[in-house]
């Protein structure tokens, strides 16, 4: 018997499983929203979502409507509607536990790039949207979870542009540059694997691979060699329950979950 799923479905389900109940989570646009909704429905019913434009503790309705992040369904029955300044202030003052962010590139210390590709800032090869609220999420939240497609070119020794901070930036620690102590990247979830950051060296460390893949296959698809944990676990593919919720309830139009390559895993 097998289960078929997309890259995105895999990342969403694994991110959702990581969250803790009774915690606050800073939720970005798109994938992170679906992560939060899935977590709320299956695993962490009392998680408190925060949107940067000023919504705290809403209970997003489904189906998820990508376009209307600020609209009535996504911010339904919030505990508080407020300003962006206040939403970021909650995070800056330490009230927000988790952040969930996407990335175009990541380096071994969890710095991420969502700004541009190329070596000339003024003539980028590719230009992305920039930080948005990503810099604040990565700077302020206690534990930031990154979600990124597993592609060799995305794992780089030094981001073409560090949009949002990881654990060490060009040799300097977070504390040295003035960032909040003990905050920062917590996990990276890719379409093939999961990483944490070594407690000592703060380097990316492989801790899980998608069931059916080998550690070597995962590392082969990376632009640098990560640390590898002693006990790399098998990451379960999305469960039937997760997929049913995602496909029938949360994102029936496949606005988010249909993206990425398709996998099939025997279970």
């Amino acid at each position: 018997m097998g289960v078929e799923f997309t890259d995105t479905e895999f990342m969403i389900c694994n991110a959702a499983r990581l969250l803790e109940d009774y915690k606050t989570i800073f939720v970005g646009w798109g994938i992170p929203q679906v992560v939060a909704i899935l977590a709320e429905k299956l695993y962490t019913p009392n998680i408190v979502q925060v949107f940067e434009f000023g919504s705290v503790g809403h209970q997003s309705r489904t189906p998820f409507l990508r376009g209307t992040m600020g609209g009535p369904t996504n911010t339904y029955r919030a505990i508080q509607w407020c300003s962006m300044n206040l939403a970021f202030s909650y995070a800056a003052a330490g009230y927000i536990d988790y952040g969930v962010l996407g990335a175009a590139q990541i380096d071994r210390y969890g710095n991420i790039n969502s700004t541009m590709i190329g070596d000339d800032y003024n003539k980028p090869k590719v230009r992305f949207p920039g930080s948005g609220g990503g810099n604040e999420v990565a700077s302020f939240c206690w534990k930031t979870i990154f979600v990124m497609a597993h592609e060799k070119r995305r794992f780089v020794e030094r981001c073409d542009f560090i949009t949002s901070p990881g654990h060490k930036m060009d040799g300097k620690t977070r504390e040295e540059v003035g960032l909040a102590r003990n905050s920062g990247p917590y996990r990276l979830i890719t379409s093939k694997a999961m990483f944490d950051f070594d407690e000592e060296t703060k380097e990316l460390r492989l801790i899980g691979v998608l069931k059916g893949l080998t550690i070597e296959e995962v590392i082969d698809d990376m632009g640098f060699e990560p640390l590898v944990a002693d006990d790399v676990v098998e990451l379960e593919p999305p469960t039937q329950e997760e997929l049913k919720l995602l496909r029938e309830d949360i994102d029936p139009y496949g606005l988010i979950i249909s993206k990425g390559a398709k996998f099939k895993v025997e279970i």
Binding site: F53, G67, T68, C82, S83, N85, F88, P165
Partner: protein
């Protein structure tokens, strides 16, 4: 001499007004008289948006964005704008496509390949900030202070390409970013309710409506509905903007279309997809011709969209709780 160490300086050119100059503008030009400021988009943009202005807007083309005003700015072919692109999506793309924009302070430069190419080609100059740092800059501008301390951007290339300065805090000894105050020349803001004097009420998340209006020299608001002043006085906690911040009030039902406005109508996903699929100048100019240049005003634009479509979008906005 007693001093504070400057650790790093971002290299971006910044739009910066000495707080005393902003104060004097406010004293002389922001009227404390409750006078009728109702006018249409054409008059408001003609009077209050100038070529070369630094332009800010609040919220996005998805929700409660000031889209009828954006289209009017394009229609009047304003030039050399410096745009504050925080938490905004298609507005900046359209303004750039129409050739109105020289520079963009980037919070979020969404989205699509079209605007990316403009940046890559150097047709518009970008300065990278973040949604938070731009918001903090507006907070400082609204508070009448020359800068505000913050703990974001630190350690990143975003900081290097911003205009922030990092100093060692004299109290905590921690490196701290100083964000220069931002006082835009003009802000355009869409709200649910306003009176003819400019008192305004926003329902739903407020992003930086108040800070943006307070910090801006000229403020145009568009409103789904014009209400009596007594509506504000009966519930003063719900006032988002007091009238003296506002220069022009435009009555613009469906003013956020193709985005939605909470409590009124949902966004038009089809029109939105049409916009996001614009990939080259051909497509852009065709869109602008059809939906902006060739229509005289917002009402004609809505006629082109058609009542059937508008009715569908009203129909979809069934959630009123919290928006009344």
């Amino acid at each position: 001499m007693d001093f504070i160490e400057i650790i790093e300086r971002g290299e971006a050119e910044i739009h910066y007004i000495h707080p005393d100059d902003f104060r004097e503008y406010v004293r002389d030009k922001k009227n404390r008289e409750m006078k009728d400021k109702l006018m249409d988009e054409r008059e408001a943009v003609k009077k209050f948006v100038s070529n070369g202005d630094y332009l800010a807007y609040d919220f996005s083309s998805l929700t409660r964005g000031p889209q009828s005003l954006i289209r009017e700015i394009i229609r009047q072919r304003k030039k050399n704008l410096w745009v504050c692109a925080k938490f905004t999506l298609l507005e900046t793309v359209l303004l750039s496509g129409a050739g109105c924009v020289d520079k963009i302070d980037v919070g979020f430069l969404g989205f699509g390949p079209y605007i990316a190419r403009k940046v890559q080609n150097g047709e518009v100059k970008v300065y990278d900030w973040s949604n938070g740092s731009i918001t903090y800059r507006l907070v400082a501008g609204a508070m009448g202070i020359p800068f505000i301390a913050a703990r974001n951007l630190l350690g990143t290339d975003t900081l290097k390409h911003s205009g922030a300065v990092v100093v060692r805090c004299p109290f905590s000894n921690t490196p701290t970013a100083l964000m220069p105050a931002l006082n835009p020349d003009v802000a355009i803001i869409h709200v649910q309710e306003a009176d003819i004097y400019g008192n305004a009420r926003v329902y739903g998340p407020t992003v930086a409506t108040l800070e943006t209006a307070m910090a801006s020299k000229k403020v145009i608001i568009s409103a789904e509905r014009i209400v009596e002043t007594i509506e504000f006085r009966k519930n003063p906690l719900m006032t988002t903007l007091p009238y003296y911040l506002v220069d022009a009030v435009v009555h613009a039902p469906f003013g956020a279309y193709p985005g939605g406005t909470q409590g009124y109508y949902e966004m038009d996903s089809e029109h939105y997809l049409m916009l996001t699929s614009i990939a080259d100048d051909n497509a852009m100019q065709k869109y602008l011709e059809e939906y902006v240049y060739s229509v005289d005003n917002h009402e004609e634009f809505l006629a082109k969209i058609g009542m059937d479509k508008l009715k569908q979008l009203i129909r979809k906005a069934e959630i009123l709780e919290g928006y009344r």
